[in-house]
Symmetry: C2
Subunit: 907 residues, 2 copies
């Protein structure tokens, strides 16, 4: 490191090329020039009208830090030379009052980090240059407005003066002069402001505002480098998992002005609609304005289409450029442009962010148009797999949302924390939301931030909106787990649950008024926007894309489901099997629970057997249903797993009942009865039920239960076979820790299965296998595989035991903070932990295949629906992932992406 | 296997040697001839008077099973040839009424399985032979008594007639004739019995009692083979971890009779006292009796010493033989002998079982006597490491126990389930035992068998006695875990808790009368036998042996201890450090708990800090004490580990309080207060506290606690240093699952430690390390070792998470049955599971040393005191084991045994 630093800062560095003119770079130099720099270079070399400029490399940024925050040797000379080149190209001169060159200084990292780093505009101005600019343009107003903006930005970003100080001064001047907007200020007022701003700088920093343009430039470049390690930027990179050692480039570019009259303007546009994917220019612009004005929201921009009417030539040129850039980059482009006195300048081009539905349509359209091939369309760059869920959730009706936008009903944009769209009454407390929600009213729960106390309100609401908190805040995490739309951290909203009001700027929403939120975009609207339910079958582009994915992927995609309706849904979404059918859910149904309780509370074997005999036909019907729905495909049925006390009243309930009766003392008979039940429940209680008498331990202690279930499964398969239906049950033994547990159970299951087949006079195909959900099972998988035809990785429990985290407790008590404070890179219950849990999976895969080469290997934990975890499953050589039916399309695409990204089996 | 079976049963087998005359074998042929056969062979070849005979090999037994339970080819011919040789040696002939040869047929496996397999005596008798025998001996009574005994044994063992049927008949005859004992029966009565017994056989089996001696022999041999796989034998082997495929040999040996008059007798003797190790013949004999009579307990045998008076020549010969055998085998011998008409015959010699104290004395004496060297004395054969605990537990005063024995107060002998001796009132219910025990009375809890409902009684009792259950029964397991004496499965006792009586044969003990139990031998006595407390310092033989062990072992032995008194005890026992000092126990002390609760319930940081400030000096004093007691040796101090709710009232208690107040409704103020506390406790409750907010998770959520503890530890060390005392604290971070947890905590600890050293103006040496107690920590140990100077394997928690067993729940709910039913080979909380947990330990050792070659590695789980687990720790290359102070001597010896058994580091 020491040597490297020396190399970067010492003599060796002086020969290094730190600066590239735009004409010297190209799109492939993104690492060195950043996204913006590479884009400008590519456009420049393509002959597009880009204001001349140059890029200081990301290496220079790293050298700056390595050298103790000083510019590396040789850099400044290269900057000066590049400035001379820009002067030649523009015919203007930096610091020359007669024909001044002004520049912008902007950061530009490899990956876009919008708003996270700093930009200085109009650099090169001082009193003389401003006067010269006024003269040259004949527009004193323009010149001094540019000057005061420069001082304001430079003061804030380079000199560290708080932005509010300037804002406050500006507001005071406006108030004094009765000006409503900045545009109402007179030339004199602007000149006054310039003087005031300079004295503010002197007062706050103790130094005069720098008048030397080259000094301005040097300090601005260093400020941009420093902004790379600003808190906001670091947080953003942490959250988006961008490496901290990439560094940022700095772009120095000739200023062009969209605010030089009605033949000038500025705008942004996408080459296709980023919400729908429709192939048509989509964007907006403002005449006689600079970029800031668009952001300030004082004037409403016009749709890009109206530019055709305003300046037909320019529009045509822009259209051609947009088309060229899209063809060039083979993707939707997000463009920034400025028109200065009728001349179009392109300031930026980059891949456009888009919604899930747009991503799918665009990817498919680009293939149809011949721009990309199918394999390219399947990559994460075009369609992030997780975004597909947006097509399976309620969405706003496009026309209705456009109407809301055009009516300026957009209140704020927060974080797109959990996809889906919802409209409902804005309700500010969880209790009230629960009350209304249970009455069937459409409610959006609106909170400053949520806590575990709000969960009942979240359950009852259609969606959740918070003013504070990020993508891992309580609201975001819980909403995602519930599959509900959530917009989090909409910081522009002021929510006051005492007055029952929410403010967005001047606008007030009273509690009970309708709002609409789009969890895929983070938008919050006033009033109701209609939503439409998704229809998978009608999503033809998605079907097309998933068809291509199916051709590419190696991993099969199965689904978890307990009921025939789940199975039907899963098949519709393309599932190739059921990877986890939990049998105990059926026990909770109302008419069955008393029989289950009879079984548990039985005082002798006869009573217990009697209950089991009653359950047998019921379970058989359950299994018939799901096996029939999945005819021809495998159905993995897990034997009873939860501890039996889950089927009894809770200890607390029963204790409360007993203490009440005891305190009253008026009903000794009832007391005795309830005390008996309390005693039974108490005896069954466990300190740590997760690690207690459940899974196959239960089966070994009460063999009758497992035998009943096995008879029901095989019995159902036999009956279906006689009806000509191809049932393919796979019996899964849960929570095996020692091979003997499985060996013994297997013998028992085989005996029952044989007996049932004899009884029915047919034979059926079935498999017996086990969950791998305890570390010991993974570590001893070679022995376990002797008795298992398949392994299904139960990564939920495996994560719990490998980490020693009880999910129920951890997520509420510390896991969220662990993720927020970066103690853990992510929630291991959402993204499979490759270092720990993944290591165990790999051990078990290797051992399992070693013993039984054709062993069937899959995953049935929640990770089965998470793209990063699916990539791992592909790499680890599993045969399938199983996830909730709803995640099947995501998994199909993620499996294809894993295959395309080159992960190879047993790599 | 098929081929092997063919080989064993087919032609190939006929050439094989299946039978060895005693003179053809020797002591090294134990595998082939079994212990008894090898012993008889060795004695025969040493010229000792052994009744002639031969041994059918263990291979024959295996061939018998491989061949579908038929004798292998060639075997019978070899048996016939050997019988002819025996006839020649004895001058008697098998089946010849004129001079009949009678034989015994006994099993004899490689390892002694006392009473587990079957023996037939007096084989070769039929009506003619019996008559001839009567004539030859001139003793009709003897001849017909031998005959009826033969029918009885053969009927029971070979023909499968229930023993009770014969016993019943015998009792009826005795009653009819007014005979008190068998000896009172007349010759006619015995002849009648023979006839009756034969008709019983006919009636029960449908066949006549076999009269052909050769047929008797063949069937007896097969019966012995079959007994190898009898249920009792299988259970015994399972429990003692003896392989099931060893097979048993069969010994056919000339009968000699100790019941042929007053010049005959039979007895057993040890070459040294098996209770104390004293070097003097120890045993007993009966004149004019057979072995069975000793067992039946009708006549009281005489001490072996009186044989000198009865038959001085024979005694002298026996003494010489005993001495010779001991020198020959270099170990205490357990001898069986018979004197037939003045001639001494040796029937068996084998290593004598002995108590822990005897084992230690004998081993040390044998070294002193030059029979063995020190390394041999240290082996498990001479001193099983676990038996050392017997020297550290109360023992019976030897004279007092001898007195009890001589007064025939021995009631029964059960299983030696948990060592130590206790005397107390026999109490038959747990409630009553608890009541008396809490009053300070000496109580022995006596139960048919115990269940979790009896635990409070066990806690209050000095010892536990059960009539049913084996070494893994509830009583045995729980008593061992409590360190209390327990005799289990004393099947001869009839316990009736309704009548308050316990019967042992004719003797009746009423509830409340004193009994005494010896958990090291399984003996139960009527009345009180005085016990004496152990004094480690006075156990000079043990000190000597452990000194030798210290010279041999590589593993260090540390102790777990929380208080200075534990540390002193540990040092006294030879501990070389404290491997686990738990800091939270101190929090539970009466005057501290309110401060701890203040800390937990604090509503803001100031309140919490105030409580921590109060705890700091208290904790510092705690640490001063233990660091001072261990001056010069390392003390590993674990930061707070248990969930905070453990320091609050239990949820149930608090709920009960609230429901009572609520139901009464007369004290709303109190109700509100208690409801608030209930709410707090409820919020802190966890589904699975084992996997919840505890360990370093707590430290990361409430950094103030950890900082206070660190300041107290380093502060104490600094103060001691100023007093000239060498304190060596090692700070241990518990429950790390991800390296970041440790990295962050380490930075925090280092900061506090530095600050405290500056404050005190001295610097001290300390280490920071971590528990490895979660699978993930073991799997990612390479990364964790970057921030840990030591690893301490917390194998209790590691076993819980690797197996997914909550110990609290598992041991009560299913683990016991798992072990009983052999689903698990042993309780993994007692014996470290090498395949699972051990694999993780090895992974962590390898990764840890890879990152940091000098990392200090130890184990602090309960396994640290278990010999088999210590052997594993040695093999895995750990630096030390840490166990309870009481187990330190065991661990010292076990560590030496591990080193001697050739386990090598990283093997």
């Amino acid at each position: 490191m020491v040597q490297l630093a020396a190399e970067l800062t010492g003599k060796a560095g002086s020969d290094k090329k730190w600066v590239y003119l735009f004409q010297e770079g190209n799109a492939s130099m993104r690492d060195l020039l950043g996204g913006k720099g590479a884009g400008c270079a590519e456009m420049t070399n393509a002959g597009l009208p880009v204001p001349p400029g140059f890029t200081i490399t990301t290496e220079a940024c790293n050298a700056f830090y390595a050298g103790g925050k000083s510019l590396p040797a040789g850099l400044w000379d290269q900057v000066l030379a590049s400035m001379r080149s820009v002067e030649e190209q523009t015919g203007k001169r930096f610091g020359d009052p007669n024909n001044p060159l002004l520049v912008s200084v902007r950061s530009g990292a490899k990956f876009s980090m919008p708003g996270m780093m700093d930009t200085v505009l109009n650099l090169g101005l001082n009193d003389d240059v401003a006067a010269g600019l006024a003269k040259l343009t004949g527009n004193e107003r323009f010149a001094f407005d540019a000057y005061r903006r420069f001082i304001q930005l430079f003061g804030k970003i380079v000199l560290g003066v708080k932005g509010e100080v300037f804002e406050h001064e500006l507001d005071q001047v406006k108030e004094r002069l009765g000006a409503k907007t900045d545009a109402d200020l007179s030339v004199d007022a602007l000149k006054d402001l310039v003087a005031h701003f300079k004295s503010i700088v002197k007062q706050q920093t103790g130094e005069d505002f720098p008048t030397d343009p080259l000094q301005q430039l040097e300090r601005a470049v260093m400020a941009v480098f420093l902004s790379w390690n600003g808190k906001r930027a670091i947080d953003y990179r942490n959250f988006n998992r961008i490496s901290h050692d990439l560094g940022t480039a700095v772009n120095v570019q000739t200023m062009v002005f969209g605010n030089m009259g009605s033949d000038s303007g500025t705008g942004v546009a996408f080459t296709r609609n980023p919400s729908t994917g429709e192939k048509r220019l989509f964007g907006e612009y403002l005449l006689n304005a600079q970029g800031e004005d668009v952001v300030a929201g004082i004037r409403t921009p016009a749709p890009i289409a109206t530019l055709e009417r305003d300046m037909p030539e320019v529009y045509k040129q822009f259209e051609e450029i947009a088309e060229r850039l899209e063809r060039h980059y083979k993707d939707v482009q997000d463009l920034e442009f400025t028109i200065e006195r009728g001349k179009l300048y392109m300031l930026q081009t980059r891949s456009g962010k888009r919604t899930g539905p747009a991503a799918v349509k665009i990817a498919v359209d680009l293939v149809r148009e011949g721009l990309i091939d199918k394999r390219t369309a399947l990559t994460e760059k075009y369609v992030p797999a997780a975004d597909i869920t947006q097509l399976l959730l309620p969405r706003f009706v496009v026309e209705d949302k456009e109407k809301a936008t055009s009516e300026s009903r957009l209140l704020a944009t927060g974080l797109n924390a959990s996809p889906g769209a919802a409209a409902g009454k804005a309700i500010f407390t969880a209790d009230k939301a629960a009350e209304l929600g249970e009455r069937g009213e459409a409610v959006v729960l609106v909170r400053q931030e949520t806590s575990p106390d709000d969960v009942h309100g979240m359950i009852a609401a259609r969606g959740v909106l918070t003013a504070r908190g990020g993508a891992t805040s309580h609201a975001a995490v819980v909403a995602r787990s519930m599959g509900k739309p959530c917009v989090a951290g909409a910081g522009d909203l002021r929510i006051d649950d005492r007055t029952g009001e929410m403010r967005a700027g001047d606008r007030v929403i009273r509690e009970g008024e309708f709002i609409s939120i789009d969890g895929a975009t983070g938008e919050v609207f006033a009033g109701e926007i209609k939503t439409r339910e998704p229809n998978f079958a009608e999503e033809t582009d998605l079907q097309t894309l998933l068809g291509w994915a199916d051709d590419v992927r190696r991993l099969q995609v199965w689904a978890n489901g307990d009921y025939p309706r789940d199975a039907q849904k899963a098949r519709e979404f393309g599932a190739q099997g059921i990877g986890l059918c939990r049998t105990e859910h059926m026990f909770f149904e109302e008419e069955r629970l008393p029989i289950v309780q009879q079984m548990i509370l039985a005082e002798d074997e006869a009573q217990r057997q009697d209950a089991l005999d009653k359950l047998l036909p019921i379970q058989k019907e359950d299994f018939r249903g799901i096996l029939q729905a999945m005819a021809g495909l495998p159905v993995v049925i897990r034997l009873i797993d939860p501890p039996l006390h889950e089927f009894l009243p809770s200890f607390e309930e029963q204790l409360t009942k007993v203490v009440e009766l005891r305190t009253r003392g008026d009903n000794p008979a009832a007391l005795a009865k309830e005390e008996h039940l309390l005693h039974v429940i108490e005896n069954m209680r466990e300190q740590n039920p997760m690690l207690g008498l459940r899974g196959i331990r239960l089966g070994l202690m009460f063999p009758g239960i497992v035998e009943m279930q096995c008879r029901a499964i095989i019995g159902a398969a036999c009956e279906l076979k006689k009806d000509g239906i191809d049932a393919r049950p796979e019996i899964m033994v849960p929570l095996v820790s020692h091979v003997n547990e499985l060996e013994r159970t297997r013998l028992q299951l085989e005996r029952v299965a044989e007996d049932e087949q004899k009884r029915q006079g047919v034979s059926v195909h079935f498999k017996i296998g086990t969950m791998i959900e305890l570390p010991r099972a993974a570590l001893t998988a070679a022995a376990i595989a002797k008795h298992a035809e398949f392994f299904s990785f139960g990564t939920n429990d495996l994560t719990q035991t490998t980490y020693g985290f009880s999910r129920d407790d951890a997520e509420g008590k510390f896991l969220l903070r662990y993720v927020q404070e970066k103690i853990l890179p992510e929630n291991p219950f959402q993204v499979l932990d490759r270092d720990g849990v993944g290591q165990l999976v790999r051990i078990a895969v290797e051992q399992g295949r070693g013993t039984r080469p054709d062993i069937e290997l899959g995953i049935c934990g929640e990770h089965g629906g998470d793209p990063s975890s699916i990539e791992f499953c592909h790499e680890a050589g599993l045969d399938y992932v199983s996830c909730s039916p709803f995640r099947v399309p995501v998994a199909r695409l993620a499996a294809a992406q894993a295959a395309l990204s080159g992960g190879e089996r047993d790599r």
